[in-house]
């Protein structure tokens, strides 16, 4: 689902998503697979660790989530999907 659909389906939630489709030129994620939604970012972060998936990331449908360190470097393109 696109970020727009994600926002419509899960308003005000933090979603754990995997990239679905990427733009061939820029590599930017244009569509997501939503695995799970949460109210709170810390719960979502804990669940993400529990899932142990390489390509899953958190996507907020309301606020920008600050990503630091290794995570930020690995997923900088993916995080473009978030609301700025």
């Amino acid at each position: 689902m696109t970020f727009k659909v994600l926002k419509r389906e899960h308003p005000g939630r933090v979603c754990i998503c995997r990239p679905h489709l990427r733009d061939a030129g820029s590599g930017r994620v244009v569509s997501w697979i939503c695995l799970r939604t949460f109210d709170r970012i810390d719960t979502a972060r804990a669940f993400l660790e529990h899932l142990e998936l390489d390509d899953a990331v958190l996507v907020s449908t309301t606020n920008r989530i600050t990503i630091e360190g290794d995570m930020a470097a690995r997923y900088s393109m993916v995080y473009l999907g978030m609301e700025q």
Binding site: H10, S31, C34, L35, R36, T37, L51
Partner: protein, 261 residues
């Protein structure tokens, strides 16, 4: 449990509506019809998710950890591309008979043991335009229901105006009955889509599959086969699920303590 919740919510709606009628006997019924229709839509969606979740859970024989793991690995695009590329339903869903065998428990739970209407459906699938029209009509069932809801609320309004301590039960029952009808349509629509995708225009194979289901009941599936069946089930119901597995995963988390200890 769900029915009790529906009853309670209908009572809350009627009670709010009654309060407003008591303040203003000329209260417009439309906003309440719309609110109730929106609520029906919400319950309907939740019911749809519940049925789909039950199908997936049954496919994995309540092994929620494996289901969660496989869902995380599922590539929706690949599944849909494969379905698109195949010309016949059998090629799209090679494991369909096994899939139905595994889902027999859920199917008989919702549809009973008489699945003959499904054979009839597949035989009629040649008139594909009619079937598509039926399915679209069912999709907009809540919009048709608005007239019934409006009728019930108008009737309720008249009753409150005539006698302020009117009994809620009869109106709650009428609303719950309408919702109940909607639920039946919702259940049948999901299974119709599932069967039409798996067996469209192949009534003969469906007849064989249903006969086997009735004779042998639920099929056991080895864990290594489940992932293929998961793809088939996803492919057949992709119009509902899209790329959103959140409801399925939430269900896995919810039931995990009960099944995995």
């Amino acid at each position: 449990m769900a029915l009790i919740r529906t009853c309670q919510k209908c009572e809350v709606f009627l009670s709010k509506f009654k309060e407003e009628i008591c303040c203003n006997p000329y209260t417009d019924v439309t906003p309440y019809t719309q609110m109730l229709a929106a609520e029906f839509r919400k319950w309907h969606k939740a019911r749809e998710k519940e049925i789909i979740n039950t199908l997936f859970l049954n496919l994995y024989a309540q092994d929620v950890r494996s289901l969660r793991r496989d869902l995380c690995q599922l590539e929706p695009q690949k599944v849909l591309d494969k379905i698109k590329a195949a010309d016949k339903a059998k090629a799209r869903f090679p494991q369909r008979a096994l899939l139905l065998g595994r889902l027999y428990g859920t199917l008989s739970l919702y549809l009973g043991e008489d699945l003959s209407w499904l054979i009839d459906l597949c035989e009629r699938a040649n008139e594909i335009e009619n079937i598509a029209y039926e399915i679209v009509q069912e999709k907009y069932e809540i919009d048709w229901k608005k007239y019934k809801i409006e009728f019930i609320l108008s009737d309720f309004k008249e009753a409150v105006c005539a006698k302020s301590d009117v009994d809620f039960n009869i109106y709650t029952d009428m609303l719950v009955y309408e919702y109940d009808m909607l639920e039946t349509v919702c259940e049948k629509r999901i299974f119709k889509i599932l069967f039409l995708n798996l067996y469209a225009q192949d009534a003969q194979s469906l007849k064989i599959a249903i006969t086997k289901l009735n004779m042998f009941g639920e099929a056991g599936v080895v864990p290594s086969k489940r992932i293929e069946l998961l793809s088939d089930l996803y492919g057949a119901l992709s119009s509902y699920i899209g790329e959103d597995f959140s409801s399925l995963m939430a269900m896995c988390d919810k039931v995990e303590p009960f099944y995995c200890g």
